[in-house]
């Protein structure tokens, strides 16, 4: 009964989304106030219907209703409650419902928070969001019904893929989708602007919070996924340039570029056409990721169970939305006059450089991800593009990006001089040089990590220099506190986000110095790695709620003193008949001691031991970046939409 209500709610949502797509767009075109005013209530109704469907799905999973086929395939009564809930979105059908729920939430947010948007623009944005929802709701109803019944119901479900039974992964998809779907809002703003044929400073100001929110969620989502891969897959790495990871990185890169170019639109009314294009592309990349993951054209560890028929449908959606947006772009954008002249060396110039570099990175990642597929299709060649390609192609783009990142915020608008900026950054440069020198002295001739430490010091130092300069700590120390309090939160947010990237790079540089060792040990034997003594004490059986395991106890000592006792496991999940490795990690924040238990043979256990310096900082940095985004989002200028005419004074 509940499942049928859920199914009906989805159908109702489709009808409401269709109305939300058609009526406001029509009303905006004809100037009919009643149709324009219908946008908000329709978006609210659409949200309620999708929320009801999602609640019904959660209910089916929590009560383990085995007459619902999706529950049978993805759940089991012995699973902890958290994983029953996350099981609801840990599969293709359920994750699509989550996707449309977040899309409807975005629509509701535009309707709720966008009261000071001009009515026509708001109607058009909601109309485009409704149109996007129509496609995905139709996709769910036509090919991926999450509420299908099975008769007779089996006594219990088959369980969720055990590798996904993890708190990190329970929250990874919702955060990622908040990011992906958040770009649907910027897409809708871009399409609305193209329909109106007008992009101005006000448009930039309205788009930016959405771009910022989507970016912050996507940053968290990607970081959580990477963290999960680090501790759950047990390979000891944090980023593998896997096509599915790349699919999430693409909208992040485009979205980061969008975030920065929207500032130029807002402050200077320049880069308008470019910003609109980025807004279209950021969502296009989100759709591309959805297509790649769900259609089966990819060969990846994390691809969903796939089906070419669904693939054709998603491809149709991708081509319709992105193609439609870009067709509109090709038609309307040439008429948008470029405005707001600026010198190459200026804040705008810095942001253009940022955009060029980020988009080049996106092009590299896109090429590297899609090339093997197209080579297979067109040339019949199986090639694989791996980390060496990405690392060598990204590095030359990352170096100038990092260099410019610290200097950019210190440049004034319109026209700048390099010398005063360098004067304020000399000590950050000194810090960077010291960091590189220290790394070379301590770790030997390792160029990559040394470069990473220098970049991290430069970024963190640069962000600090920016803040200190703005609050004039050294010039007028007495007024610094009040200036700090008066500094716009957007400025704090930018500095913190930039420093956050520095922290992440610090972690990546540390991981560049990671060492590992594979050892087959009898209980009582030990090996040395990175100045630690790793002793295998015993291997024994262990039991959990829906698994049994072999658990090793590894004592790590340094100079005779015990540092940590690690308990890596190999878990066997009888319901899914799968084995997973549970890496044991002890972190001191400066270093991760990481152990993985492998096969056992004749009393000896194979252990893979890793010494990962600074590893947690990678994800800590991402959290700091998202925090910066959130802080910037809470800026008064965003919350209280000031009248569009007057531009804020340029901060000195």
């Amino acid at each position: 009964m509940i499942a049928e209500i859920g199914h009906f709610a989805l159908a109702l949502a489709l009808a409401l989304a269709l109305a939300q797509a058609v009526l406001p767009l029509l009303g905006a075109q004809r100037g009919e106030a009643r149709l324009i005013a219908a946008a908000g209530p329709l978006a609210a109704g659409h949200l309620l219907a999708v929320a009801a469907a999602f609640a019904a799905l959660l209910w089916a999973f929590v009560t383990n209703d085995t007459s619902v086929i999706n529950v049978v395939q993805n759940s089991h009564s012995a699973k902890p409650l958290l994983y029953k809930l996350s099981g609801a979105w840990g599969n293709h059908e359920g994750s699509m419902v989550l996707w449309v729920l977040i899309l409807a939430l975005c629509g509701g947010a535009v309707a709720g928070f966008g009261r000071d948007l001009p009515g026509v623009l708001r109607a058009r944005v909601l109309g485009v969001l409704g149109l996007v929802a129509v496609g995905f709701l139709a996709f769910i109803l036509a090919t991926s019904n999450p509420f299908g019944r099975v008769w007779p119901p089996p006594p219990d479900g088959q369980g969720l893929n055990p590798i996904l039974q993890d708190p990190g992964l329970a929250f990874h998809p919702p955060l990622l989708y908040l990011g992906y779907v958040g770009y649907a809002v910027t897409f809708a703003f871009a399409v609305a602007a193209l329909i109106e044929g007008r992009v101005d400073a006000a448009w930039g100001r309205w788009v930016r919070p959405w771009a910022l929110a989507a970016w912050a969620f996507l940053t968290l989502g990607i970081a959580l996924g990477s963290w999960w891969a680090y501790y759950e897959l047990g390979w000891g790495g944090w980023w593998f340039w896997d096509p599915v990871e790349n699919a999430s990185l693409l909208p992040w890169l485009a979205g980061t570029a969008l975030l920065h170019s929207a500032i130029v639109v807002e402050k200077r009314e320049a880069l308008k056409v470019w910003t609109v294009l980025l807004a279209l592309l950021a969502f296009g990349f989100s759709l591309l990721g959805t297509f790649l993951v769900r259609s089966g054209v990819l060969n990846s560890v994390h691809a969903f169970a796939n089906d070419p028929e669904r693939g054709v449908f998603i491809l149709g959606l991708l081509v319709f939305y992105l193609g439609g947006g870009l067709a509109l772009f090709a038609w309307r954008a040439p008429a948008m006059a470029p405005a707001g002249l600026f010198a190459p060396l200026s804040r705008e110039g810095g942001l253009v450089l940022n955009n060029l570099l980020l988009c080049s990175m996106a092009a590299v990642v896109l090429t590297g991800t899609l090339w093997p597929m197209f080579a297979d299709l067109l040339l019949g060649q199986k090639i694989s593009v791996g980390p060496p390609f990405f690392n060598t192609a990204i590095l030359p783009l990352a170096v100038p990006l990092v260099l410019a990142m610290a200097a950019g915020p210190l440049l004034p608008w319109k026209r700048a001089q390099l010398w005063p900026v360098l004067q304020r950054l000399w000590w950050a440069a000194l810090l960077a040089a010291l960091a590189a020198a220290a790394c070379l002295a301590l770790a030997g001739a390792r160029i990559g990590p040394a470069l990473g430490f220098a970049a991290a010091a430069w970024l963190i130092g640069g962000a600090l220099a920016d803040v200190l300069d703005r609050i004039a700590l050294f010039r007028r120390p007495a007024a610094a506190w009040s200036r700090a309090r008066g500094l716009p939160r957007a400025a704090w947010g930018a500095a913190i986000a930039h420093a956050g990237l520095g922290v992440s790079i610090l972690g990546m540089a540390g991981m560049g110095l990671a060492t590992d060792r594979l050892a087959g040990l009898q209980p009582g034997e030990s090996v040395a790695l990175a100045g630690y003594e790793w002793r295998l004490d015993r291997v024994e059986d262990a039991v959990g709620s829906n698994w049994s395991a072999r658990r090793a106890t590894v004592t790590v000592t340094r100079n005779g003193a015990t540092v940590a006792v690690l308990a890596p496991e190999r878990r066997f999940f009888p319901v899914a008949r799968m084995t997973t490795t549970e890496a044991a990690i002890h972190t001191t924040w400066l270093v991760d001691l990481y152990a993985v238990l492998g096969e056992e043979q004749e009393g000896a256990a194979v252990l893979r031991l890793h010494h990962n310096p600074l590893a947690p900082w990678i994800w800590l940095g991402a959290a700091i970046m998202a925090l910066g985004g959130g802080l910037s989002l809470s800026d008064r200028r965003v919350r209280v939409a000031a009248p569009s005419a007057k531009r804020r004074a340029v901060p000195a």
Binding site: N299, P308, G311, A330, L377
Partner: protein
């Protein structure tokens, strides 16, 4: 004008990409595009040298010489009694054997007694049967896992590799055309 063309470029890229993806999806449907399949390094080359003891005691060992200068192409099948998909493919192998196709079996990481029991129960399609208990030869051939089949032409060149069970579809769509082509 140039500006207008430039703004059409993204649309063109999406159209080209969309067409390519559509071709991939079509290929997935009819089997001509398979992102997971990895071609065998042996394709188009002679089989590596090997010598394996026969499963039956006293029978001569199986060597690469058995795969040279043949009257007809042969199928080499890696299998094990503990492997469930091997039971799935067994009727197809039996059918081929009844039709006169030579199938050479390599029993992979198995106990001879278990292998014999398996063949007694399900029938023996193999003209010759060798055992690779340590799995060394399987490594040389690049075997993913059992079951796995190779088609060797009359000159002893590997023409086809199939990692997985020989289902009726594989039999009709792959093996029969290949047998005709290399006859």
């Amino acid at each position: 004008m140039n500006r207008r063309l430039l703004m059409l470029a993204p649309l063109g890229l999406v159209a080209a990409g969309g067409a390519g993806f559509y071709a991939m999806l079509r290929g997935l449907g009819d089997g001509s595009y398979d992102p997971r399949g990895v071609p065998s390094a042996l394709l188009g080359r002679a089989t590596p040298a090997f010598s394996l003891p026969a499963l039956e005691e006293g029978a001569p060992p199986l060597t690469e010489a058995a795969l040279r200068g043949l009257p007809a192409p042969v199928l080499v099948n890696f299998w094990a009694s503990w492997c469930v998909p091997c039971i799935v493919e067994h009727p197809q192998l039996m059918r081929l054997a009844r039709e006169g196709v030579t199938i050479l079996g390599i029993n992979y990481k198995d106990r001879p007694a278990d292998a014999r029991a398996f063949l007694q129960r399900h029938g023996n399609p193999f003209r010759q049967l060798a055992q690779d208990a340590p799995g060394r030869v399987a490594i040389d051939w690049g075997v993913y896992g059992v079951p796995e089949s190779y088609l060797i032409d009359r000159q002893g060149i590997v023409r086809w590799r199939w990692p997985g069970p020989v289902t009726p579809e594989v039999l009709e769509q792959d093996i029969r055309p290949l047998l005709r082509r290399h006859a």
